[in-house]
Symmetry: C2
Subunit: 323 residues, 2 copies
């Protein structure tokens, strides 16, 4: 019996394209669609056969690639990812990439060899050329090239929300503080939302935004804070960067939330039972994991239609703001 690969070969297209034609994905060019349909007819192929073939190839395993599991944001994400994967009778392989490109590529190879059925990845490496849109891969936080599916939180509106919450807390002069990766990622929109909302609300603001791998960051942060000593509200790129800023503020004898209101991003907690470590813009981690797994399983079943999910964030009042 012919396989889906035979259809792809006869039509001169990729397996993903065949799957998209079967799933009536409108992104397929008309001429391509006709070629695939012709091949399906010639080989006497039916979608049921294809589904069966797909099922046989299943390792019933997906891989989750994270920079490190030893971080509460990633461990929460892993917790909920495993929960959703497990509900479907699948297992989850965990990979700490330590941001090493080679380790990520190794898993992509496993996927191509059907040793895993799909990948959910948080990666900040430039591995776009290893990733094709025909593979079941869902990216979280950043996106790869256009073709790759992703789930992200609404970073832009998160930045805007932070400005409005600082204003509600009575702040008059605010700052964004953070670092960025060499590559553009969706995370950059946190700063963008912050800046545009500050302009729109006509509040004075300062920006500290250094490259992540930069030298003497702590010194630069302290210098920035000393030069802008009358800042009364700070939004940081994430909670952990916030902890670094708070240490410097302690050194400068600034009291939080008395002298300075403080809002982070992520909404990390050490565990389910613990408190949030600061006031924060919370990413809906549980829902992000759920959406990523759902999207991935659709792809595993051959449906490559839904590709982009942006989930709303919300404000959590912790100990570092008044309201």
């Amino acid at each position: 019996m012919a396989t889906m690969k035979d259809v792809a070969k006869l039509a001169g297209v990729g397996v993903g394209t065949v799957s998209r034609v079967i799933n009536k994905n409108e992104s397929v060019k008309e001429s391509t669609r006709l070629k695939v349909e012709k091949a399906i007819k010639e080989l006497n192929y039916t979608p049921n056969e294809i589904a069966r073939t797909l099922k046989i190839s299943q390792s019933k395993t997906i891989a989750l690639i994270l920079p490190t599991i030893w971080h509460p944001f990633f461990s929460e994400l892993a917790y909920y990812t495993e929960e959703n994967v497990s509900k479907r009778g699948f297992k989850m392989i965990l990979c700490n990439s330590s941001s090493k490109k080679e380790k990520e590529i190794e898993y992509l190879d496993m996927l191509k060899q059907n040793k895993v059925d799909g990948i959910i990845a948080i990666t900040y490496n430039d591995i776009d050329r290893y990733v094709s849109s025909n593979l079941p891969i869902v990216s979280i936080d950043r996106h790869f090239s256009e073709g790759v599916a992703y789930v992200t939180s609404d970073n832009y509106n998160g930045g805007k929300l932070a400005v409005n919450k600082l204003i509600e807390n009575g702040c008059k002069k605010i700052a964004f503080m953070g670092t960025h990766n060499e590559r553009n990622t969706d995370v950059d929109n946190r700063r963008k939302g912050f800046e545009e909302e500050s302009i729109s609300k006509n509040i004075e603001y300062k920006i500290f935004d250094e490259i992540e791998t930069g030298q003497d960051l702590e010194d630069k942060m302290e210098k920035f804070l000393r030069q802008n000593i009358n800042i009364d509200g700070i939004f940081t790129i994430n909670d952990f960067f916030g902890l670094r800023v708070i240490k410097i503020l302690e050194k400068l004898n600034k009291k939080i939330p008395k002298d300075i209101k403080f809002i982070g991003y992520d909404g990390v907690k050490m565990s389910y039972e613990q408190d949030f470590i600061m006031s924060t813009i919370r990413q809906p981690v549980e829902q992000m994991a759920k959406e990523a797994v759902e999207m991935l399983f659709k792809m595993i079943e051959g449906d490559y239609t839904s590709k982009k999910v942006k989930l709303p964030v919300y404000y959590i009042k912790g100990d570092t703001t008044i309201v």
Copy 2:
């Protein structure tokens, strides 16, 4: 060609026993050893054949079973376990058991069916009867029935160390506070070490030790602290329980470390880069993961000789003690 199973069948023993005979493990009874050797001879079997057979059955995957990955102690352990497993060219499946027995048993079944090559588990369930000593399983923290291998930190000496550190900090009346599981686990030795060292050093001490699943724990803790208001040093069963005690102490207007010195157990950090959350008796997590993986791979290769590792703990001075 005969398999290792055939040898086991002919000798009327388990596969693990055959492997122990081949590896010259002295724990095998003389009469059993003779039966196995006879079967090996009859089937014309050689250890090399066995090694080859074992290798073919390898899924190159091990499973790590944790109550939850969303906890810094477990995520650190998972981080180092994956690192060590990955060095050997294996993958690590992560399972959040949520302390559910069924999920743990599901993985034991996978092991029996060779879908995974070994299991490292932190479990507090009564699953001893599902576990046999012939399977590559390493338990961390608690132990199963006698036959199962384990890696643990030196809980008893950890309890003793805490007493001595509180004394060094000038404490005159100290308390152990914690909860325990219905089943005895090695963790109980933290309290035992604390009590025996307090007696030996002739320091006044109190014990708060409730069953984990008990009701109104916070009320009971507060009552205990109010009744023993002159306590000036506390050791808790773990850091997270310590956080609960600290909240109550804040309510009682007790300052740490001024009024009360405080030592936890575990040594959790939110991530590699963060600080320890309190003064603590640190479990050597990195080394525990390394030992557990080493022991597991020896078993996977058929060597069931080394079964018990107890690793030394050490004191970390955090913000909740003076020295």
